[in-house]
Symmetry: C2
Subunit: 219 residues, 2 copies
């Protein structure tokens, strides 16, 4: 556990709580999606990836405790929004599950990286540490590409699925933003003006497009 | 990964495959049961315990590969029996989930320890390493005791549930034993005679009774 560093700004607690709850639900979702795997080897791979999320979760809640915050309270504002997102985007098969993890976690990680740049150390490095490593992305992208190669019609179905995922995620993000004043103010202040905010979204959309192409999907 | 050590006896492959598949399903079940937790702290505790299982799973499949066995083939004989066990013992709440993990994994671990004594190193130590550590048992037993203290009627309900779990587990174990000739022969030969086999079961029943008492349950 990190040493106590005194209270953290509200926006940092907001951010750490958001990332922590994201890790907990990512564990839960990957563990459930592992059941959709076509064989035991791939099932175990997804379970191992889930295990990484829960280790990250512990680092984040340890940090919240160190800055004098209650982890449960810090995570509470995100429970409903993430639940609503997952309820509305239940994968029906292995490829939808992989695409959801690849696209959804990719967009979330981009957002977390942008937010990390706005906070001080050691929280900046902590957030950067726990965003997903590329090993997972590579596994998911390779599985999706192989499925498209075997049946090109899959590309269209999964591309539509990915667009729905992004739409649902944005809808829930907007809902949370209206509620988390400290975090929203931090983003608005750091962006400085409307143009800077637009360029943040533009960067995220470019990253998202690159990920889609990498997996053989159409944006 | 362990170095290649040449082919292992069929009974060792049977045993490692059984323990490995047990770990994979334990991960899956704990991850699902975590959703039943009454708060985020306890939910995360169960998720972290699940993560330990999947690390053990990897050690076992690495060892199977090192002795020239196919992990999927080694696990295959246990898939139906474990699925049938879990389908027939779906926990309805957090306490049933904890009791199932505590009682079911406890009996399975005792059996794995008995089997470990029958095989050579390094497989003996590997199996002993991956049986559950007491940290988990203590968490589960403390939760069950606290629930009984809050409402003594809980003891009766969970004791009946535990007896059903053991009954279902024995029924599936008998089914697998009839199928896994090498493992069954190893047990029968090592036991030497009917009396030795009976004493193995007696030891397991004594351990089980001690665990039940420790959690405040009636055998």
């Amino acid at each position: 556990m990190a040493a106590s560093d005194g209270p953290a700004p509200a926006a940092v607690v907001d951010l750490l709580g958001m990332v922590a709850y994201g890790e907990l639900t990512a564990f839960d979702r990957m563990a459930a999606d592992a059941r959709l795997a076509p064989d035991l080897r791939r099932r175990a791979t997804l379970c191992e990836m889930a295990a990484v999320e829960i280790a990250n979760y512990r680092r984040l809640t340890d940090r919240l405790l160190a800055v004098g915050a209650d982890p449960e309270a810090a995570m509470a504002p995100y429970v409903d929004a993430l639940q609503a997102y997952h309820d509305s985007t239940e994968p029906r098969d292995w490829l939808e599950a992989l695409t959801k993890a690849y696209v959804g976690d990719g967009v979330a990680d981009d957002f977390f990286r942008e937010m990390a740049a706005l906070v001080d150390e050691p929280d900046r490095q902590l957030v950067l540490d726990v965003v997903h490593d590329s090993r997972y992305d590579e596994f998911a992208a390779a599985e999706i590409r192989a499925a498209i190669e075997a049946d090109p019609k899959v590309a269209n179905r999964l591309s539509m699925w990915a667009r729905r995922l992004v739409g649902e995620a944005l809808s829930q993000a907007t809902r949370v933003a209206g509620d988390r004043v400290a975090l929203t103010v931090m983003i608005a202040e750091s962006a400085g003006d409307q143009a800077a905010l637009q360029s943040l979204f533009k960067r995220m959309m470019i990253e998202h497009g690159a990920r889609m192409s990498h997996a053989g999907l159409n944006n």
